[in-house]
Symmetry: C2
Subunit: 412 residues, 2 copies
Amino acid sequence: MAQLVDLQASATDQWAPLLAARTRLGRSDAIRDILAAAATPGVLSLAGGIPAPESFPVAPLGRALDTVMSGYPTQALQYAPTEGVERMRAVLATMATATGAAVGTSQVLVTSGSQQGLDLTAQALLEEGDLVALDDPSYLGAVQVFRRAGARLLAVPGDSDGMRTDVLEQRLAAGARCKLVYVVPHFHNPTGAVLSAERRAHLARLADRYGFLIIEDDPYADLAFDGSRLPSTDVHTDRVIRLMSLSKTLCPGLRVAGLVAPEQLVRDLAGLKQGSDLQTNTLSQYVLAELLQDPGFLPGHVSRLQALYRGKATWLTRLLRERLPWLSFQEPRGGLFLWCTLADPRLTADRLYPRALAEGVAFVPGTPFCIDQDGSALMRISYAALDHTQQEVAVDRLARAFAAETEKARTP
Amino acid sequence: MAQLVDLQASATDQWAPLLAARTRLGRSDAIRDILAAAATPGVLSLAGGIPAPESFPVAPLGRALDTVMSGYPTQALQYAPTEGVERMRAVLATMATATGAAVGTSQVLVTSGSQQGLDLTAQALLEEGDLVALDDPSYLGAVQVFRRAGARLLAVPGDSDGMRTDVLEQRLAAGARCKLVYVVPHFHNPTGAVLSAERRAHLARLADRYGFLIIEDDPYADLAFDGSRLPSTDVHTDRVIRLMSLSKTLCPGLRVAGLVAPEQLVRDLAGLKQGSDLQTNTLSQYVLAELLQDPGFLPGHVSRLQALYRGKATWLTRLLRERLPWLSFQEPRGGLFLWCTLADPRLTADRLYPRALAEGVAFVPGTPFCIDQDGSALMRISYAALDHTQQEVAVDRLARAFAAETEKARTP
């Protein structure tokens, strides 16, 4: 990956001496460079975690915007409470209750995307040296936040049922004291795994016994190909902070998410949020509240979403099995991602990546997602962004890159 | 103030042991409680720093929204770069250049309001124990951010020309080593002072000599009653971070602001922003870019704004001088605030406040804004929110509260 990372010669940077240590820490971000490269014109990207634009409910959102701007524009353009617009909090409480324990409005904090919910939680709870357990591999945005908060990471292996809670329990029994356990319970990024009902219950028991909080970051929950969904771990314990993103269910650009937690924690997190950005966009909150208050909207929209991604995943996985037999992966059940293993031990995803980019196709090599485990044979592929024709071209380009790298590996 | 602050009995809070020290630090926020009390139905509020809703450009914003939603809706609802939508960055660079040094797009970071610009700057630059100089009194949101970042505060007195840069220089010459100097250069909150041209140049020379950065937080610059505006200190030095809010110029609810800084710092701040909230609301950025790209829009809108606030300020100051002669203040030249002194030494603003609230009028007592100086005889009054009739009723209520408190002070 070294060639992709811009290390930004700090010797020539006059501002570097002024920076806090944590800032220098964040300077090289491999994923950011990869996604920037993937956005090069002409490159077909299987890299991003970006939802399909054709999934956005443009017309209903446009009508909700009209309702707000013709009905109460000055209220929607004014400051609003840090905790969130009351109607948006109520809508999110209803959505949370439908998929987990009963939740009141005062247990909801509206955040500027789930990333902010994660960052506020880390700021509120973590002191230098605190231990955070998470899947290995994990979502990079979470790893970045925990590291910057000074946390030590306890990487827990997983399988297709998600985090191995039995391994977590062994570590806890052996003395590891986690403050937080971070999970992406449905269609994990990058692995696609779903944390099973048994492991959810087990994790909740461990939280109660060992006193940690569970962060449940669940942006892909609505994207099950069969429409199924498991309840939140908050049906088993109140030691849960739920991050309810709307980025994949509706669209990412409005940056409105819900954080659900015990009421006192919501108050503390709101205090931090006030210093952070005062409040989340008022107009977007009212628009989304209008949209989601309509009981007829969400079920139909989610069904269409599920059909859309099921179609894309079916098409791409068929192409991959036919034309890239050297790549193995679990059949996806939802979400946006395939977590793939390169079968040829002479090849690594890091070496394949620049060649693929030269052929005009991008993916994300596995290494940046991995904490303790070796990710060199792993790669993340998203079926979300491209249409069927583009997927076919992308797979052929990937096959050419693979052939060229295999040839190179064979030549002494 | 003690009776207004909810100290939230942490003894009964099972989550308290999990919290980081900085979270407990932020638990009691006097201003927040005051603004909540000011929002009680029936209370006329002179307390908030909230712009007049009739100042919002509702129709032009509605047209810009239509342009975006009918022209390129999926782009406006999708993820966007952390640094900001290119067109919004370009618009902000043009606005910055018109009011300071020439600035390129790469020197602009779009933030979720200026509060986020301030928070990111503090996170990026401050380590535990670093010194930050700022006006005494100062904007509370800034004090909160600096304190939470672990900074020590160097309170610098001011007068109607803003921060006493001669006093700052004495402190620097005596060995104080500031990393940041925070100023609100036009119509300071709460004092209303404008940092003079001479002091801007002086502050810039000090920045170059002592190596600190100037944070120029300038949300009220467009609200000069005579339409005048002084250039940014960045015409004198590149050691400046400008925070360009649109909350008072357009409206606060869209949470889009510009941070202007040297390019390398913008990159570092963007790295932190990515972990904080990924990016600012995409739709709002495109809508504001559409609106501000129209060269005919802003000058006329700003003239109307200035006339609106001039009218409100003229009316309120006349009422105050006629009916509250025990209150003294500088004649305002712009912005939203009057910084008032109680003439009667037996009265304090903290004691007047609950009585005023009981009479149905709210203001903000001076104490929370003050760092080293005694704020007990000081209070902040805003002329922005209320119309002329409401202002008249509010002043009469304030007069009644004053009379009652004076009577009480006289009775042994």
